[in-house]
């Protein structure tokens, strides 16, 4: 059985914490049904961090010429896997960007590195002018 939570958040950077805190709470709720997972705090933090990064990326990717577009966040629980999606109607982007150069250490560009590190599976799609980044993690 699959359960879905859907949130629509204004596409404004000041709402970042609303998005990331919701992710942590969704993960915590999901874990109520999982008995054996030892690293529960780590699991919740993974979603908090991934959503914070994906939300900020969606906001920063907004088209400067239009009003900020709302960002839709979904949490989908299926079996022992929790999937989060972040969707926006801004410009297309790629998640195949090169990792930042650690030797010169830029002040930004680490968001995808963090998402990929804390999630099991990350994918991107664009359909009907909507970007969706999909991030999954299985409780095991």
């Amino acid at each position: 059985m699959s359960h879905t939570i859907t949130l629509t958040v204004p596409g404004d950077i000041s709402y970042t914490r609303v998005a990331s805190s919701s992710a942590s709470q969704a993960a915590e709720l999901f874990l109520l049904s999982i008995d054996k997972l030892e690293k529960k705090t780590e699991f919740c933090h993974a979603f908090e961090l991934a959503i914070s990064e994906a939300f900020a990326n969606a906001v920063n990717n907004a088209n400067d010429l239009t009003e900020p577009q709302p960002i839709t966040i979904q949490f989908i629980r299926k079996g022992s896997t929790l999937t989060a999606t972040v969707s926006d109607r801004n410009k297309p982007f790629s998640i195949e960007t090169p990792m930042p150069d650690i030797s010169t250490y830029p002040e930004n560009g680490f968001g995808l590195m963090l998402i990929r590190n804390v999630m099991d599976c990350v994918s991107y799609s664009r359909k009907d002018n909507t970007n969706t980044i999909r991030m999954s993690k299985t409780a095991s």
Binding site: H45, L49, E53, E107, F110, V118
Partner: protein, 114 residues
């Protein structure tokens, strides 16, 4: 994000509290101690969440101070904050201490020895 400034061993000690993310990172740049050139210890014991935007703000502060031959030390990273430092290798850029007072004393000694 709240910012509290004190001094210890004549070193500026800046304690941050709250989430350090894209919505609060700009707040750090507006702080006079953090944006200035004085050597500083940043106490992260009250930071319960850090993302890449928050990390970028800390890196920017440290880089600016370093350009002015000044230091930025960090103290009290919790497990989640430390994890972000480990994934991004940011621990290479900072001296990190378990408590802010030891960090301030070490920084004070370093300055006295110059």
């Amino acid at each position: 994000m709240t910012i509290t400034e004190t001094t210890h061993s004549n070193i500026h000690l800046v304690a941050l509290k709250g989430a350090l993310d894209a919505s609060t990172a700009a707040t750090l740049a507006k702080n006079s101690v953090l944006s200035g050139n004085l050597p500083t210890v940043i106490d992260l014991s009250g930071v319960d969440f850090l993302d890449s935007s928050g990390l970028g703000a800390l890196v920017g502060i440290a880089r600016k101070k370093r350009a002015a031959n000044s230091d930025t030390l960090l103290a009290c990273l919790n497990t989640n904050v430390r994890k972000v430092f480990e994934i991004t290798h940011a621990y290479r850029l900072f001296d990190i201490y378990d408590d802010p007072y030891t960090a301030a004393e070490e920084l004070s000694k370093k300055i006295s020895a110059l």
